[in-house]
Symmetry: C2
Subunit: 150 residues, 2 copies
């Protein structure tokens, strides 16, 4: 009851805090939170418009205009899929990759004051806990056994 509430409060608070940092850093590079996210996703992938939209929980049309703008800016490019003429695949240009790297550095720098308050052991702990919360297979398989039975 209280513990779960505490976590949720902390989660929500941290979310707004981190989102604020991301918004600010993004803004410094003329990127919205969503654009930031798209760049992050595409940095190691090449996705179709629909998949990207599904991933972000956005409408296809929203995705389309967003990509169009990024393309106009030279950050992304669209390519045809040889197997299916309807499909458009989106991927990053060198300029996009370069910008993404720069932004990631800035984000790292901006978050360091916050994470710097934790010692290495706590950092590892936090990473694992967050992995669990955000439904990511834990990186250090420290969670043995079957999942608790609800």
């Amino acid at each position: 009851m209280t513990v779960a509430d505490d976590v949720m409060d902390a989660l929500v608070r941290t979310t707004f805090e981190v989102a604020g940092v991301l918004t600010r850093i993004g803004g410094e590079h003329d990127l919205s939170l969503t654009q930031l996210r798209v760049l992050g996703i595409l940095s190691d992938r090449r996705l179709r418009v629909t998949d990207l939209a599904a991933y972000l929980g956005l409408d296809k049309s929203t995705m389309s205009t967003l990509i169009a703008r990024a393309e106009r800016r030279g950050l992304l490019a669209r390519g045809k899929n040889p197997d299916d003429g309807r499909v458009v695949e989106v991927y990053m240009t060198p300029a996009g990759i370069e910008l993404t790297e720069r932004v990631k550095d800035d984000i790292r720098r901006a978050l360091t004051p916050a994470t710097g308050r934790l010692d290495p052991q706590q950092l590892g702990q936090l990473a694992n806990l967050l992995d669990v919360v955000s439904a990511r297979p834990s990186r250090a398989h420290a969670e043995p056994g079957p999942t608790a039975a609800r």
Copy 2:
């Protein structure tokens, strides 16, 4: 280096995840993420427009229109400050308080699947770690009682 990076990745990923949940829940009540946040802030405070804007990192004018809409909707109200005729103070109406409670319940419910993957001890741990990260005075400052190590 790697550990800090892991945490940042997890932090960013969780941020997007939680923000997504908040956006969805907010949307169900016709509230944007920012409006949600304003309600959260004002639930135990009464603030001037400028302070609210500073708190959220938004422009005064943005704040102004946002408040106007919420006021039109009956969620917030504006009051004069007797000491300074320029100041406008914003506070919640009963309807706003009621809606906020409802939304908070929904958020709790929506986040339960995620936090439910942690046992009570991990929940406490996570809450404390996040408190440190988001620069909140830790709630269990000295970890009293039977807190297990690790």
